[in-house]
Amino acid sequence: MAGGREIKTKIKSVQNTRKVTRALEMVSASKIRRAQDLMKASRPYARLMRQAIGHIALANSEYRHPFMVEREDVRRVGYVIVSTDRGLCGGLNTNLFRTLLPQIRAWQDKGVEVDLVCIGQKATSYFRRLKINMLGSVTHLGEKPQVAELVGVIKVMLDAYTEGRIDRLSLVYNDFVNTMTQKATIDQLLPLPPGDESPSTHAWDYLYEPDARTVLDHVLTRYVESLVYQATLENLASEHAARMVAMKSASDNATKAIGELTLIYNKARQAAITQEISEIVGGAAAV
């Protein structure tokens, strides 16, 4: 019987693959809910933080914080890239990097150098191979990222900005729209993009304790941290969603392949039987 055993082995191996993809799909389906809960839980902070920043932008302070001042001469830019630690999540990371690369190339063509910090294993190994200057990296944040784990990479970039080593800072991550859609997003972090200036009815300013500089330093640092943290959570939810979808289509493809292989196997078996019978009949006729 032609290749019957080989086809059987092939079917077995596809079945095993399907077991793995099914399991991964199920794991992601359960994790995505937790990731979404985390995302929701961190939203009030982000919202109130934005509100406070909005107030600060409106206050008539004598002190202008460097984070809020646009620099005319951009010589070096920074990117904070949020990626996943693990693969098998479809084109999630690839899409993100593909959205970012033209920007990086455009800067480089203009003679502007690019600095990166990477969150997640995938970005770290990808951009290392591209030989783009990497200032910092953090990996293996797990299922429940903590702000404290992100402080390091953010501080690296903020210090670089304060010291004038970079003149612009952006955040790159996958925005979780819904389970089927994740949007590669690039947001400008620094200088703070100007908000919609609503004309204030009267000039007012905060009482700063101890002084404007210290307080604004602190607030704006926390603001950037909250944005990066939020992006990390969005990316985590995106990762699970993308993995779930990718693994679902992998399982479906496996099922289809098994169907086709079974058909081929049955045909081969039937052909072998037919051949055997005709041989016997032919043999008997010859006698």
């Binding site: 985390l38 839980a41 961190s42 009030p44 902070y45 109130l48 933080m49 509100q51 406070a52 107030h55 600060i56 206050a59 910090v117 990477c118 770290t124 190994s125 290392r128 191979r129 990497m134 200032l135 910092g136 990296s137 953090v138 990996t139 903590q146 702000v147 404290a148 402080v151 390091g152 990479v153 501080k155 690296v156 210090d159 007012w204 300013d205 905060y206 009482l207 700063y208 304790e209 101890p210 210290t214 307080v215 602190h218 607030v219 926390r222 941290e225 909250s226 943290y229």
Partner: protein, 140 residues
Amino acid sequence: MSTIRCDIVSAEQEIFHGHVSMVIATGEMGELGIAPRHAPLITRLKPGQVRLKLENGDEQFFYVSGGILEVQPQVVTVLADTAVRAADLDEAAARKAKDEAERAIANRSDAMEIAEAQNQLAQAIAQLQALEHLRRNLKH
């Protein structure tokens, strides 16, 4: 009795929101008592308690490990830190992030590299086989 809206949140969860008659917190320059119609103010908080006097006279306590207190005419916002933060701790974290990047750049035996090497090996083998094939064909 007049009240003011108060929101307390940390990056990881919402802690309190509602109307209160007074907010008492440990600011960097000392204890602060914020009553309704306080002037706009913004300050850093020291690790310590935030005490809320509710409308019905009850008190509620929250521990914050630092953060920001913002007073607006309509609302008091406390943006609490989730972990104790200090300049030298941040510094150490930043150094760690840099080390991590350097390690990632220096580390040549990472899975990606191995895959690349295997790829090149496979290509080399294929080329050798092609050469072998050519040579055999030439002999015939």
